[in-house]
């Protein structure tokens, strides 16, 4: 299918982009920001969106790239998935981001799709929002009024709705380095390789010297209109000494993950009904935590 007509604006700078977006807001025009376009173009082709203009940020080098900033890794919004998953900095310091990014769509889509685009699309079935939530990333945005920071916990407002005000551009994301002792895993469950996650679990787990879990961060994909933290399980995992499953029939990890779905409101769609998603969240959280522990 074929998109409806729209104007195309290629701002020369971020300031320029913010001005364009602000003007559009004033004029009441519905403009959309174009990053890699891998989610937006299918929507336009199916005529599920009718923007009056696209503001293409794809030519702004200042939005692209990965930097080691001491206590965090900064990922420019327009950095492609492919660049993120290959980045040595990302792989060394925030490996959960690389692990989850490698499961996004397929190689060709990862060459065009961007880290910030996926975040700003705020699709709870996307793999990266749950990671951002689990790692307490900070979103750096700019408008004509200046820059502000939005914690991940506040960024994903509702289904496909980020906390970006009209006129705001996502510049990049600060991904905190968690330090040593952490293990990571992204467990994605989908019906075919290129299908969206039915449920995904982003897990970061820190083990103490004694081998018991001291801290866990769990983000859930596609378990509600936004990504969700499995807070009850995070608490339950603290102090758990993982033992090999089946040795005496007990599995403390499984027990700790038995409420991984608490506080979620999973959707019903073609691929799963809510009770199955809840079940998957429990099983997959157990698996993700186990894998993160190595």
């Amino acid at each position: 299918m074929i998109p409806a007509p729209f104007d195309y604006i290629r701002p020369a700078s971020v300031e320029d982009a913010c001005r364009v977006l602000a003007d559009a807001e004033t004029a009441g025009d519905e403009v959309k920001v174009l990053a890699g376009g891998q989610s937006l173009l299918p929507l336009l082709r199916l005529r599920l969106a009718y923007p009056s203009a696209l503001v293409d940020l794809g030519r702004l080098p200042e939005l692209r790239g990965v930097a080691d900033r001491g206590d965090h890794v900064y990922i420019g919004a327009l950095t492609t998935h492919d660049e993120v998953m290959r980045s040595g900095v990302v792989r060394e310091h925030v490996p959960l981001v690389a692990l989850a990014t490698a499961t996004v769509a397929d190689p060709a889509v990862r060459h065009r799709g961007t880290f910030g685009g996926s975040m700003a699309h705020a699709d709870p079935a996307g793999d990266l929002p749950a990671v951002a939530l689990a790692l307490d990333c900070v979103f750096v945005v700019r408008s004509s009024d200046g820059e502000r920071e939005i914690p991940a916990a506040e960024f994903f407002v509702d289904y496909l709705e980020p906390a970006l005000e009209p006129g705001e551009v996502l510049l990049g994301v600060r991904v905190p380095k968690l330090g040593s002792g952490w293990g990571f895993h992204y467990e994605k469950f989908h019906r075919t390789a290129q299908a969206w996650a039915t449920v995904g679990v982003a897990a970061a787990v820190r083990r103490g010297d004694g081998g018991t879990i001291e801290e866990a961060r769990i983000g859930l994909t596609n378990m509600g209109p936004t990504p969700v933290r499995a807070r009850v399980t995070e608490v339950a995992l603290r102090g758990v000494a993982p033992s090999p499953s089946g040795s005496n029939g007990s599995d403390p990890l499984r027990d700790a993950c038995a409420q991984a779905d608490a506080g979620t409101s999973p959707p019903a769609d073609l691929h799963a009904r809510p009770d199955y998603r809840r079940h998957l969240a429990r099983v997959l959280t157990r698996r993700a935590v186990g894998a993160a522990l190595g």
């Binding site: 299908a195 499953s245 073609l270 009904r273 809510p274 009770d275 199955y276 429990r282």
Partner: protein, 823 residues
């Protein structure tokens, strides 16, 4: 003085040109020739219908119903007409007088209800996506835009979605005549006797879900007229059938209509159709006097390419305690969708003779009722009726084995037709000409490592491994090579099943084979070249195959039902034989011998017992020069042949599938898959293997991934490839394939059809494996597609208590929302 175009001079130049090959004695039959077709396909020099650009061409877009069932109370296209670039816009009412009714060629019973089927809806829409208006514009972008300016008023009517409810008293009607299209019955033997006092009866209900064929190339049509005649280019499997059907539908005289199937990107039955868009494109070209093109989008195609399967099956198998099958009774409801299209009602009949499978039995009883619903019509999809039949009997036989505590292979062995018993006339009245089920099964079991896998399965069960192993068996046969015209006639099919070929010898000794088959990925250009090269003794490279254009290949019945080789390929051989007979007569004349004394070997005609001979290339030149011909001999070697075999083709084989089922998540992964097929003699093993691979993949798709889903209002939910899931490379294993070769006795090549075999065999192999894995948990069946959620739910609801660590949690009923609800 101008050079005289002297035939002898030309002939002399040809002889010296280096163009003329030596004959070839190389045997082509059975040779893994790489395909001739590939050159254009791997370099992008293809001619897909959408690639065609004609001067002044216009682009068509259709406005489609957003409702499953509604009365059309008004269509206003005036605003669309005034948009820039828009040449015309029409409603169904505007075209009502000339658009005719789309044909159904298979009225399976005398009292069948065949509703009028306007290509564009006029008063009522009966399925989601039905065309209600169209726009013709100067480019495809403007055409798409203009659709949004058309206003349609609908008065919603009740959708008819469930077949059982559709047949109930007082149900909303799809058509005035009611929702029952036909009931067709067939019986052999005394079914009551077979079931009376039967020690074991397996009685099961299976759902053949609705599938979307999903050929990779979306449909496309280009129609053009020179003011007198018309040419229609279409991504079709059936240019010849289409020509005559379109002539009847549109009123364009048959001789004024040329139909071309250019490169066609897959069909699988979905392009075996006379479509609304083809008819409308011709009407628009006629009205506007300009070429028009329509190219489908994928989401449009998911809605409006005919769908496949969609049957509710009830199968009962009566057996003795030793496993001997006494009889099989089948009751089907087959979803026709909203209309009967080209062979819609015939699809279940193609399965009707296959529910007995490869087994001997005393009695068989079959009833099928075709039901109208407010969904896209169903029609042929790879296997068409036979996958459904094979699934039901192979699933039921596995259940019988379980019931009797026997190995599923052993139950089959006790019932199948043994190799000594061929030819064998089955309870369904078909005569299977040849087969060797023992050989194929033994080979498959050895390749699969059956005993080892059974041991591992026992071990995993013992250990309560959360990942269980299941083994599925499918020993199938099928009737294909849609042919015997006499039989098709007795089933009320509206056409014959012959195939035509012409063979032309060019002056340089090169060969053109003209075939009435219409390939769309199968590789006929390669295989037919091999047949002709063998028959005529010419090099493989010296043959070209012409097809898919009714002005070039004027007679044909096209490609579907695994018929091309067993009917069309044999026609090529028959035409070559006629060429050879003409060449023999000419050779005898030139060598002053009796034709009876001239023998043919490796492309050379020799007088028996002498060294004197003529190559076929020399004879082609001699016929062209025509200086010295026998009396009354027409100056050509060319010949044509039409072949109509006496019987269907019955490929068979044994497919074995091992799956690992994660009982915690319900995920099923195929661990290994072995297929040993017997497709008779083989022309090109490379092509045969490819057909089997692809067939298996589509059958696996039905088993695990694919389903057309409608919501409660009757709208299709799976309109895109993000929703209707077909497997990628990452979702399938490597398939291990091999063959046994039991030549068919029904044709001189000894070949059997292969196009549908993999699809027919694989679906029950996969689902049997899943059922086998889950049987200890008390799971009796999982509905297709066997999604993780369905497997999990089946486990959760099963009767048998299993140890906690491998037990799925029981879902709370309060959370079970209806399937397919939108987010």
């Amino acid at each position: 003085m101008t050079e005289q175009l002297d035939a002898g001079l030309v002939a002399g130049r040809i002889a010296e040109s280096g163009q003329v090959s030596e004959p070839s004695a190389e045997r082509e039959m059975g040779r893994a020739r790489r395909r001739k077709e590939d050159a254009r396909l791997v370099t992008g020099r293809t001619m897909w219908t959408d690639n065609i650009q004609l001067p002044g061409m216009l682009y068509v877009a259709f406005l489609r119903s957003p409702m499953a069932h509604a009365r059309i109370t008004g269509v206003d296209v005036s605003a669309a007409r005034s948009l820039p670039g828009v040449v015309a816009a029409y409603s169904g009412r505007d075209l009502a007088e000339e658009q005719g009714s789309l044909p159904c060629a298979w009225p399976v019973t005398e009292d069948i209800v065949i509703p009028d089927h306007p290509p564009m809806a006029v008063d009522e829409v009966r399925y989601p996506g039905e065309a209600v208006a169209c726009v013709v514009a100067t480019d495809r972008y403007r055409a798409a835009d203009a659709l949004e300016a058309i206003a349609v008023d609908y008065e919603p009517l009740d959708p008819v979605l469930d077949m059982t409810e559709a047949l109930a008293e007082g149900a909303p009607k799809v058509h005035e005549a009611g929702n029952r299209a036909f009931t067709w019955k067939f019986a052999g033997g005394d079914i009551d006797a077979a079931f009376r006092d039967a020690p074991v009866v397996i009685d099961r209900a299976y759902v053949q879900q609705r599938l979307i064929p999903t050929a990779m190339e979306p449909r496309a049509v280009v129609a053009t007229t020179d003011g007198d005649g018309f040419t229609l280019y279409s991504a079709t499997q059936i240019p010849h059938v289409l020509r005559v059907m379109l002539a009847m539908t549109t009123g364009i005289p048959e001789h004024k209509l040329r139909v071309v199937a250019p490169d066609v990107g897959g069909g699988f039955g979905s392009k075996l159709q006379v479509t609304a868009e083809e008819v409308l494109a011709l009407l628009l070209a006629r009205r506007l006097g300009r070429p028009v093109k329509w190219t489908e989008s994928r989401s449009e195609g998911n809605l409006t390419v005919h769908h496949g399967r969609d049957q509710l099956q009830r199968i009962a198998v009566a057996a003795d305690r030793d496993g001997r099958i006494r009889g099989v009774r089948v009751e089907l409801l087959a979803d026709m969708g909203a209309y009967l299209m080209l062979v819609t009602p015939g699809v279940p009949l193609l399965g009707a003779f296959m529910y007995n499978g490869i087994y001997k039995m005393d009695a068989y009883d079959f009833t099928c009722t075709g039901v109208f619903t407010t969904k896209m019509p169903t029609d042929a999809y790879r296997g068409a009726g036979r996958p459904e039949a094979t699934f039901a009997i192979e699933r039921a036989v596995d259940e019988l084995a379980h019931e009797l505590g026997m190995d599923p292979v052993e139950v089959r062995r006790r019932n199948w037709i043994t190799r000594e018993e061929f030819p064998y006339t089955t309870i369904a009245g078909l005569t299977y000409d040849s087969g060797d089920y023992e050989a194929a099964t033994e080979k498959a079991l050895a390749m699969f490592g059956y005993d080892g896998l059974r041991a591992e399965q026992a071990d995993r069960r013992e250990r309560h491994d959360p990942v269980q192993l299941g083994i599925g068996v499918s020993t199938y046969t099928e009737m294909c090579g849609l042919a015997p015209s006499r039989v098709l006639g007795s089933l009320s099919y509206g056409a014959g099943g012959w195939e035509h070929a012409a063979v032309r010898l060019l002056p340089t000794g090169k060969v053109e084979v003209v075939t009435g088959t219409s390939p769309h990925g199968q590789g006929h250009e390669t295989a037919w070249s091999q047949i002709a090269a063998d028959a005529l003794g010419v090099p493989f490279e010296d043959v070209s195959v012409l097809h898919g254009d009714t002005s070039v290949a004027h007679r044909g019945m096209d490609t579907y039902g695994s018929r091309s080789l067993v009917v069309g390929g044999v026609a090529v051989l028959a035409a070559c034989e006629k060429v050879k007979e003409r060449a023999r007569e000419l050779a005898a004349h030139l060598m002053e011998a009796s034709a009876d004394d001239v023998e043919f070997d490796g492309g050379r005609f020799r007088v028996r017992g002498t060294d004197e001979g003529r190559t076929i290339q020399e004879l082609a030149l001699a016929a062209f020069a025509a200086h010295d011909l026998p009396g009354g001999f027409e100056p050509r070697l060319d010949a044509e042949a039409t072949f109509d075999p006496d019987n269907f083709s019955f490929p068979h084989g044994t497919h074995l599938c091992a799956v690992e089922v994660d009982t915690e998540t319900g995920r099923c992964a195929i661990r290994s898959y072995v297929a040993v097929d017997d497709v008779g003699s083989v022309v090109n093993p490379l092509i045969v293997e490819g057909q089997v691979h692809g067939g298996i993949a589509q059958g696996v798709g039905q088993a695990l991934f694919e389903e057309a889903v409608h919501d409660a209002d009757g709208n299709l939910v799976t309109t895109t490839m993000a929703d209707y899931l077909i497997p990628s490379a990452a979702d399938l294993p490597e398939f291990t394939t091999d063959r046994t070769e039991t030549p068919a006795t029904s044709n001189p090549l000894g070949v059997k059809g292969v196009g549908e075999a993999g699809t027919i065999a694989s679906t029950p192999a996969v689902v049997n494996a899943i059922a086998d894995a889950l049987r200890p948990y008390g799971v009796r069946d999982v509905r297709m597609p066997c999604t993780p959620e369905r497997i999990w739910r089946a486990l959760a609801e099963a009767e048998v208590t299993v140890p906690a660590q491998s037990r799925a949690a029981v879902p709370s009923t309060s959370e079970i929302a209806p399937e397919g609800g939108a987010r």
